[in-house]
Symmetry: D2
Subunit: 436 residues, 4 copies
């Protein structure tokens, strides 16, 4: 690793999240001496890149630190000799997301950015690009770490780890959000909470929750059963059924609602779609407003409105992870890594989301063993769906895609699976050239 | 094993299936010298026991063989020193089945005898009884084999194998039905077909199909994709979607429709319930007719009408299995046994349905290893449901039951799961004394 | 498979075992219509090939069957379109074996044809040749079965299965010898005995022994503890220590003596080497006598003297296995196949020796699960040695070879391992071109 | 955990190691407020207990801290309400150790305190006592942590974890000694070194060695191959064979010499036994001198001579571990814990030695997955020996003991195993009442 000055390449640098990322590097500069940040985007994202890139430059200027922000459309220039490559790109932009949400709804199936057929479509578009990026890294920055936050983060990370040997760690803000949620419910500060996580990205359970090291899972569950709950910005916040949450005996993640309360979630989604629009449509407006804000030449900090965007803590988690690697911190982070026997109920070569000791050599999961049967089955069937999705995305395998969607718990039949798949392929034709 | 005359005890001897069982023993008498058959039933089944028992006596008499049919309400007398105990009882009779079918339908969920909440309810009622029977066997006939065909056969067998050390083998007519179906599709005789089976009872896949030892899976799939199909008497017979069956690349079992075509199956069930009645209601009439036939003192053979009943080949499979054990045949039978690593993707101590070499020491599965991800996930989530069901049934564990139903692929939410569970407990209160 | 006439290619056709093979095919002709047998050997074996080949021709002639014996030095001609390729070749002939035996003895280590450093040396010589043969098969007879009896049979088979996709089954006469031994001890005929086998080639345990299907393991062990024992022609026949055999509670194979009685076996070997010569030297004389016999133009049957050779039943086991495949017999044979989870305590991709159901599609092991800790550790350490041996042989990897020998239970230190390895490489330089 | 003042109970408090333990607690007092230390011993150890106990009191007095040293022969008083129970007792004292060393030597087998038959004998004596202690803990201090350093530490810990549910962590100074050794070889300070450990107690490999987070394994191996080595006080320090250490490619532990250089180690031991005496005899003198020193009323610090004793860092490692638990440090320690799938090549319920994150809830291993075949086999066979040893010790199972010794790589035959076992049972009769 470069000793005098770290180089960061951020793919999808025109994202609205970028100010948080920049803020994160500024905050940590003392121990994490970032010298160059390359924000790279594609032609279609040029305008956004310029807007957010200029804000980033103003933020750095204000900090007085020796950090250089580079804006570029040349991905290879950005990646060359980078120490860390972070990804926050979105193939097809928000319009593709909106289509991902609407196609399943047409068939009375939940349409969500990362869960179910929506996430499947996003994976098909994203995986070829991530593999391209890995090719670049292999050639131009073979020692670089790839910190992926592009969704569906677990599936995309699995593709990178299965098909390349780029050092990749997948990241998501759900675990940190659950820590924050548990802290809220227990009315304590976040840093006193630790959670044992086991599962997959957007399907992770907090199997034990600790306050100052003491197991408080039962108390937390009692409070959740009493109606206190926690959620992400973009997931409906109705309370968990009391007996259910007690029988579960652990902390679900917000995305679990799609599985444990599929009927209600579908109803809500349909109502939203007819009134305020799908989440993608809502976000599109939020983004428009954000970029208006970002344009303000007097703005030189991350604006508080960004918090509404839904991905809060995402970029901060990335900076913190990069810091732990760079400084060999041996800290515990909850990230997406190769299973390799950590959870005995899943194959070795798949990606899981779990607590890891992070040091200069990467993220090392602490052992889990077998998980209880009550969470095992759901985790396994969704993982099988994910494996088939990766296969379909990499090989352009129609049959694998059809099986992936058919076995997904949210899809009611092979006929519906086929209809959705055909619509996805039709609608995303320009991005899905792997399918002949 | 008794060398001069085998003793069979058949629990639920008043079942309409009994004539097939008797026929099976008569046919095999030369190599399987059955001396005593105890047909045992409970007080409520006394009338049926007498009707079918008398038919059995007439059948034996006609055969001229030295077999004694005993009718009794004393289970322990029947079990004492038995060589084989077979089970075909139905706790709560057909009325309980009808209730099992109707409760889920009330919540827009598939209501089926063995699959989903209906099978769950049946397991709750049946498992305490099978464990009682195992107690009797342990005490009165410790060397006896328990051949279980009481449904849900895999779950009931798992309970027996997890909680007792009675030598138990679970049996189902689905595999033989699939062999028969494949033979029909390929237009050959059944004995030329061999199928590699992997999965769970009523969720078993034919991973390879052989004709005279040659792999003909692809040809078979092509024909199935063209619309030829196969099914059981009690499962709707619409054809499989062509691309789906090709992408699966193996032979599904009829009960797979509940998972792969949930939406259509639910619609059909609802229509049936409103018109001809649920399957249980239909069967109730079939049975009534059958017993009228059985009463005919001139009848001394298994009447052909029994084939309509749905359980065809069931009893014949049992006789054939008993024969293989008794005569140390080392034949291959498809039965339900402890996994013990046969399928590496399932826990060791659960029950699977697979090909086994059967000899005097029981059923020894041929090794499978890992199964493809396309069938793995569904198999795993259903197995997790089954394990929780066994736990709930044995311990009277409400929470385990709630989790079992919630994770079942056919149940759309924890709220619906709770409603169904509460209805089941309420409706079956007299049988479910394990729940306080 | 050719329906009108099977073609067999026997590599190492000049072996003294060939008459048994021919006899085996003659005996089974009715159900196994062998048409062409190609006996192939190398230039150095030409004389023996002619002698034994002519005997084979006389045997066939006497039988009056329509079998053609072909003698050739052209391996590819032999393999082309063969249905079965059997191997019984010996790279370096008996002189190499004698060197394999003598090198370890020089360092006070057991020197044995297949066990320990002697077997290691033989594997280094043999594996490159078997991979060459597999290349030929792939190209010239892609549907052929490779029936390997070349020693060390398990290791050689593992190399073929790991590095090629030729359909390979490894064979050894030890299991059939153990059945014969158990029958002798119990004083019954062999066909009434069945043994559950688990382990590796030349390290296989009879975990249960059955007489007419009844478990008689305990009785057998009692008799073995009383001094009755069993052994192979080429392994010393002193009795097992009584408490030891009882504590083992299962039937060891003759080669277990090298591990369980290393000290005594070494003493005996050293004494033999100084008096009658090593086993290889003895065999060399036996062979010389045999070939003198074979030359007799009046001889047209397998001479009884062959039984002394040590490999009795070897070729018969091969014919029987070929018959089971050809006729889709679904019979149980004890052979060497890929583990694939059969024994949960060994890796999936290694070769084990165990009971398999043999049909047209190969040998399918019956499931074993975990083995008891008393046999597990030895099985595992020897398997690790075998894996390293395969790696060393294929890649010419000196370090893998050094580790293989160091961890072998019969080698007392890394220094001795290095000395033996260096001597082996020096002595076998002409055969070990994979080592640079 | 008691918030105002920790209670420690040290079983075998009269050990010569106690001053290091006391020093460790004094050093850490600021963050680890120990209030009461109960040094408990048995009648035969009373004199030593008084000597070392009084030294402990003087050490505490000198520190001026509010720590109370209690000397007692009443183990239950010591354990009652303890927060941590540490063990450093030696059943049969050094005389038993000397006998453990001499019995194997009589049969030309390595006689070592913890490795081979010597360790086996020690396990037989120690395990019944540790289970008794666990009983006391269960009853009198159910929340206490048992920190076991009594040897053979891995085996004793395995017994505690298999047969009780006392929260037990096994400790050894070998890993810290290897860190120290690597630092010496690389000529850097210890705190810059981190090692990935995998294996069993006294059979642990350093699979990777890091300097400031960078992988320096290769450099270290090069230096070790050049003759630099590392060792413990009580293990012969001849250099590793160069090619061997390179082919291993990882750092062996000092006890590996018994396996990788058995012949040389045996020679050395025999020479020592005839000249200076066995290690036990040497230690007996060292101890005598130490206790003379300890008696000195002017001594109020740990004397430097203790370092010669061989167990250096042992007690310090214990204090550090206790501190990490008490203060929920999430630090990495190398300890003995239940495998639970950490190393996929060993059973779940056995004890391994590996890196763990230590917090208030115990020691959580970081995941390892499969280990390379070159270390796998030896690890597995020794683990099988350990499992049989635990079984033999707990059940008094002669046959399990005979198998344990027979499969141990250092024992050349079942006959020698039996002789050694019989001698051990005879010699230790008073301690081994579990054997009838």
């Amino acid at each position: 690793m470069s000793k005098n000055g770290i180089k960061i390449a951020t793919i999808g640098g025109g994202s609205s999240y970028t100010p948080e990322l920049i803020e994160g590097f500024i905050k940590r500069y003392d121990e994490l001496p970032v010298k160059d940040i390359y924000l790279v985007d594609i032609e279609e994202g040029k305008e956004k890149l310029n807007i957010v890139g200029n804000l980033a430059k103003r933020m750095v200027e204000k900090s007085g630190l020796d950090i250089n922000i580079h804006l570029t459309l040349d991905r290879q220039e950005a990646i060359k000799d980078a120490d860390f490559v972070t990804t926050q790109f979105r193939v097809g932009l928000l319009d593709a997301r909106i289509s991902d949400e609407k196609i399943p709804l047409k068939y009375n199936v939940i349409g969500q950015e990362t869960t179910g057929p929506g996430g499947f479509a996003k994976a098909l578009r994203t995986i070829p690009v991530i593999l391209d990026i890995c090719e670049d890294i292999k050639r131009l920055a073979p020692n670089a770490w790839l910190i992926n936050f592009t969704n569906p983060s677990g599936i995309v990370t699995e593709a990178a780890l299965k098909y390349t040997d780029v050092k990749t760690i997948g990241l998501c803000n759900v675990p940190i959000g659950m820590v924050s949620g548990a802290a809220d419910i227990l009315n304590v500060s976040m840093d006193r909470i630790k959670i044992d996580f086991a599962g997959l990205n957007h399907l992770v359970w907090g199997t034990k929750v600790y306050l100052d090291g003491d197991d408080v899972t039962e108390q937390l569950i009692e409070k959740m059963a009493d109606g206190k709950s926690m959620s992400m910005k973009n997931i409906k916040d109705f309370p968990w059924q009391g007996d259910f949450i007690k029988s579960l005996g652990m902390m679900p993640c917000p995305y679990h609602r799609y599985y444990y309360q599929s009927d209600q979630m579908l109803l809500d989604e349909k109502k939203d779609a007819e009134t305020v629009g799908t989440r993608g449509e809502v976000v599109k407006n939020v983004e428009k407003d954000l970029f208006e804000l970002y344009k303000d030449e007097n703005l030189s900090v991350k604006p508080p409105q960004l918090a509404k965007r839904g991905g809060a803590h995402y970029s901060d988690a990335a900076c913190s992870l990069i810091n732990a690697i760079y400084n060999d911190k041996k800290e515990i982070h909850t990230v997406n890594v190769k299973n390799n026997g950590t959870i005995l109920d899943l194959p070795d070569n798949v990606v899981i989301e779990t607590n890891c000791v992070v040091d200069k050599n990467g993220a090392h999961p602490t052992n889990i063993g077998h998980v209880p049967s009550k969470i095992r089955g759901l985790m396994q069937v969704v993982k099988a769906y994910e494996e088939l999705t990766v296969l379909s995305a990499v090989e352009g395998d129609y049959f694998a895609g059809l099986q992936a969607l058919t076995i997904h718990p949210l899809v009611p039949s092979c006929e519906v699976a086929k209809n959705i798949l055909d619509d996805i392929l039709e609608k995303n034709r320009e991005y899905l050239t792997q399918f002949k």
